[in-house]
Amino acid sequence: MLTTQILYALTGCVIVALGLRGALLHASLLQRIVAINVMGAGVFLLLITVAYRGPGLAPDPVPHALVLTGIVVAVSATALALALARRLHAERDDG
């Protein structure tokens, strides 16, 4: 068990909790989207920490591949959410 791993993992947990809290409590749609992105970053931090083996050792590539995929999916989901927010705005203005 590495001190580095513990530190980064605990930080990841804190970020996930912060993101979730923001996503639940913010009234503004855009800030909820930001909060979900923060939460995702926390999850990525946890995964990369699990992959870390210590200095000079090759880390586990599977979580790295997962996170890489996750980053790209997160940005496209963010774009979809923003388009949805824009449409909601337009509808509300009409009605």
């Binding site: 200095p55 000079g56 705005h89 337009a90």
Partner: protein
């Protein structure tokens, strides 16, 4: 030499924290954006140092991309969209 690199990385980290204070204090949005640029430069510098410290040559590429995309955020921040339908 390793000690020196670590010390320099810590120095950049200190600068990053000063930039962080400016991001938190503001007062204007422009000030915050400026401080974000400073944080970005600190990030580039730290990646350059980590590239030697951890023996990860690919971190040079990361630093390059971080530097290339630094201007994109600023442009998105200041860009004026044409007002057509909202």
């Amino acid at each position: 030499m390793t000690e020196l690199f670590l010390l320099s990385a810590l120095g950049l980290m200190l600068g990053l924290f000063l930039g962080l204070l400016r991001v938190l204090l503001g007062p204007g949005v422009g000030d915050r954006m400026l401080a974000t640029q400073l944080i970005g430069t600190a990030g580039v510098g730290m990646l350059l140092l980590l590239n030697v410290l951890l023996d990860q040559p690919a971190l040079l590429d990361v630093a390059l991309i971080l530097a290339l995309l630094a201007a994109v955020a600023a442009a998105a921040f200041t860009g004026q969209q044409q007002t057509q339908h909202d």
